[in-house]
């Protein structure tokens, strides 16, 4: 009897948790990237496990090969400067080095002027601060970076 009650309670709790999670509204964020190498949004706050849709718009006018923009969300503990240092030498991979793909949570590929891209993903369940960058050479160092804050 005790075992049956425990199992029923557990299922009920799990169902509630899943239901709560499903009820969490989708977070929609639109970020603009500029020729001045800045993101319009530098902080995004979400709840653990919250679904997110990020849209990146390149609002600049410079050619893609001189001023393309992407959006890379890195895993906890990943060093943004180490990632972009590797990315700078990965032009053939659109500045998203495959060797470091395991450090990426979500990404939007390289965009030229007036192009836009979208990605959807679920926020990490671990509360904390996660860095996002534009990995086009030197853009992160110039300030094109931000943080996803999970709390």
């Amino acid at each position: 009897m005790k075992t049956k009650t425990f199992l029923l309670s557990s299922l009920l709790l799990l169902g509630t948790a899943l239901n709560l999670n499903a009820a969490e509204p989708v977070k929609r964020v639109t970020i603009s990237g500029y020729d001045t190498m800045k993101f319009s949004v530098t902080t995004i706050e979400v709840k653990p496990g919250q679904p997110i849709i990020v849209e990146l718009k390149n609002e600049g006018s410079m050619p893609k090969d001189a001023m393309g923009h992407n959006w890379i969300l890195l895993k906890a503990g990943a060093d943004p400067l180490a990632y972009v240092a590797a990315a700078a030498n990965a032009k053939a991979e659109n500045y998203q080095p495959k060797a470091m793909a395991n450090r990426v949570i979500a990404s939007i590929g390289l965009l030229g002027p007036k192009e836009h891209g979208v990605t959807s993903f679920t926020a990490p369940k671990e509360p904390g601060t996660y860095h996002y960058v534009c990995s086009f050479p030197a853009h992160t160092q110039a300030g094109m970076r931000g943080t996803l804050v999970v709390k």
Binding site: Y34, M37, S61, M62, M67, A88, P137, A138, A142
Partner: protein
């Protein structure tokens, strides 16, 4: 200028440009491999447009590259950081200059090679730090950068060192804010500047060496170029606050001669002259702005003569820049002003200045425009004014330093947007027509020299083909 003269000038200019294009297109300079130069573009793997609008006007990317000490790399090139620049030109002034515009040149309507320069610019060890020192040491060595320019001056017919700078730059975090910091050695106060508002890299970016220019200029405006050595440090905090401090000292006579500089008559700094720079910059969307202060203070020997003590010269400068990019339109507004306080303790005793102290003011306001990264122009107002001093401004009948006028320029930069010809994609070319209009020159609108020459006689038509490869 008569209509006949103007037609002749334009005809000659067209011939000059056509010859230049034919020369460039002939492939005489074709490298053994189809690699790209200039060296910065090769190092970053990008075309000139990444760092410049109307070159050499820096954009946000270019400013960050310079902050990095010329060390940022992404191109993977194996060539040394060497590149070249050639500027054939044609000059015509409103009225010819008796005895010739310069030795070996006619009184007017002259073709010249304004400059031909070689550069060693980029990472100090180029792409060779890792093979030379190993991976861990290369991580340090690649933080050293350099900009070394050696120039043949086709007007003076001499070789000399030009702007030269060595840098170390790195990044750090301070109070949670990103900081880019660096140290440098260079030979020109203001060479380190990022916004093209201080004199070294200010507008016009090129001008004739065969036309008269106003006699009066502040010390920080070219008065020390290539004659001094300086050491300085800088930091950019949170991409917003820029701080810089340096000290300059006049280089020894033998060293200057060895570098192709004639030290005769120089204003000598026997001690250390501080140079300072403070700027606040911000980006908003595709626009950026900057407001700043800069200056220089020096105790000096006039004409390297130490027999009568020292003068004291202090320059206080302010500057501002607004830069925006709207679709195909790039607009940059540059403002600068310099107030110079001159105390002539030595010069007055030596009979070089009439007054114990003088003031000098310089103002410049420029709007630079570029359409589709290819077609552009600029208009610039300039003025210099100050105290009347008949000995100091002996070439002026009124003894005044007053000059003012406009600079109009049109540019065509055919390779700016997509890079140079296939055989040399990282090259660039700028064809420009510049016209300088003087309202006043060395103190007067008419008869400024007491010999009948008017300000408009110095109006200058300057045509140039600027090759960088």
């Amino acid at each position: 200028m008569s209509k006949k003269d103007l037609n002749r000038s334009l005809r000659l200019a067209l011939i000059a440009v056509a010859c230049s294009l034919a020369f460039f297109g002939s492939g005489l300079f074709a490298p053994p491999a189809a690699q790209a130069v200039p060296s910065f573009a090769r190092q970053t793997g990008m075309n000139c447009i990444a760092c410049h609008t109307d070159f050499f006007l820096l954009n946000e990317y270019g400013r960050n590259f310079k902050l990095s000490g010329y060390t940022f790399a992404a191109g993977g090139s194996n060539l040394p950081p060497i590149s070249f620049m050639v500027q054939p030109s044609f000059t015509q002034t409103g009225r010819g200059i008796e005895g010739g515009a310069a030795p070996r040149f006619a009184a007017n309507s002259n073709f010249a090679l304004t400059q031909a320069s070689a550069f060693y610019a980029g990472r100090l060890f180029g792409p060779y730090a890792e093979p030379l020192f190993g991976a861990s040491a290369a991580a340090i060595m690649n933080k050293f950068g350099t900009f070394i320019q050696v120039t043949y001056d086709g007007v003076a017919n001499r070789f000399h060192w030009d702007n030269v700078e060595f840098r170390f730059a790195d990044t750090a975090t301070m109070f949670g804010k990103p900081v880019t910091y660096g140290f440098y050695l260079n030979n020109n106060p203001g060479m380190s500047d990022l916004w093209n508002t201080t004199p070294v890299w200010g507008f016009p970016f090129s001008k004739s060496g065969l036309a008269p220019t106003p006699a009066a200029a502040t010390l920080v405006n070219g008065g020390l170029s290539q004659q001094v050595g300086g050491v300085g440090g800088y930091m950019m905090i949170a991409n917003t606050i820029y701080l810089e401090l340096a000290a300059y000292h006049t280089l020894s006579t033998p060293f200057q001669y060895a570098m192709g500089i004639d030290p005769t008559g120089q204003t000598q700094i026997p001690g250390a002259a501080p140079y300072w720079r403070l700027a606040y910059t911000k980006t908003v969307g595709n626009s950026s702005y900057m407001v700043g202060l800069f200056g220089l203070a020096a105790h000096t020997y006039p004409g390297r003569d130490n027999s009568a003590g020292r003068d004291k010269i202090v320059d206080f400068g302010f500057d501002a820049q607004y830069q925006t990019s709207i679709d195909k339109h790039d607009i940059t507004v540059l403002l600068s002003g310099i107030y110079e306080k001159q105390t002539w303790n030595a010069s007055q005793q030596l009979g070089l200045a009439s007054n114990p102290s003088d003031r000098l003011y310089e103002v410049k306001a420029t709007v630079d425009y570029l359409y589709d990264k290819t077609y552009g122009g600029a208009i610039s107002y300039f003025a210099v004014n100050g105290s009347r001093d008949p000995l100091l401004y002996s070439g002026s009948a009124s003894g005044l330093p007053t000059s003012n006028g406009l600079i109009l320029q049109a540019n065509y930069i055919p390779f700016n947007k997509k890079g140079g010809p296939a055989f040399w994609p990282k090259s660039n070319l700028k064809l420009s027509v510049q016209y300088i209009i003087y309202n006043r020159f060395d103190g007067a609108h008419t008869n400024f020299d007491g010999a009948g020459r008017n300000a408009r006689d110095n109006n200058t038509l300057y045509l140039e083909a600027w090759f960088a490869f």
